[in-house]
Symmetry: C2
């Protein structure tokens, strides 16, 4: 088990794309219930199942296991709640911290969200100039919420 301490922001420009490594992520949910989210994800020829507990402040328990990508694909296709989430995930190192920027596709096209994972809730970090408003506590931006209410319907 890992404890995930995460802060989430909107993005104000595309400048983050310089020097970013990018992968296509496809993911779907077997449960979107708060406190017991179950996600199937594929990227870079890998399959992963992730279970997330309830958020307390910036923190949430997370259990993650690698699974065969062929089985992940079958679950995405046959079992997961539709629509699936598809996005390009960009990895950027800025001032010694890794940022993950999700550029959503499909029914969530137009949405771009940046996340930083922290070691403690009070850890300070330098904000890149392309960073916008913080949305950590705005549930609408949670990927599991984007299934029932995609960005194109906001």
């Amino acid at each position: 088990m890992a404890t995930e301490i995460e802060r989430k922001f909107l993005v104000s420009s595309e400048d983050y794309k310089k020097d970013a490594r990018a992968f296509v992520f496809k993911q779907g949910y077997l449960s979107v219930t708060t406190g017991r989210t179950v996600r199937i994800r594929t990227y870079d020829d890998k399959g992963v199942i992730t279970i997330k507990g309830k958020r307390h402040s910036y923190t949430r328990d997370e259990f993650e296991y690698e699974i065969p990508v062929e089985e992940a694909d079958i679950m995405l296709e046959n079992l997961c709640i539709k629509p699936l989430i598809e996005k390009i995930r960009h990895f950027v190192v800025y001032a010694g911290n890794e940022w993950v920027i999700d550029e959503f596709l499909g029914v969530n096209k137009g949405l771009v969200v940046a996340e930083i994972e922290l070691k403690s809730e009070d850890q300070s970090f330098e904000k890149p100039h392309w960073l916008g408003e913080e949305v950590t506590f705005d549930n609408r931006y949670g990927n599991s919420h984007l299934v029932s209410k995609p960005y194109s319907q906001w």
Copy 2:
């Protein structure tokens, strides 16, 4: 992925207990939605996560992955829907086939169900004398249904 072909019966006597190997099983659900059941289970110092698809006749897709038992315990305690299912699982070989008999505990005490896993839907098998009525298609006996409607409340 495995395809699970399974038939389920009630049990008419305790004779199955002779020559049975038995383990305590504890399990809980992160999703009880038909077609996307997600189960966490511990037994014999093992942890397992299992995802089950929709049943078609006797058959259902099943994806199962071993996980650290300590993490399974945390998910059972903190994340899974309550009440948890606790049972003694007895393994019995009869006429060349393995039978699994679940003797439920806690809120499902009194319920005993025998299952056989088949290689094909039309495979014939010899019925032990302690076998009762078939309940394969009676959803009430599904473990995920016993969470919302335990046997003690029938």
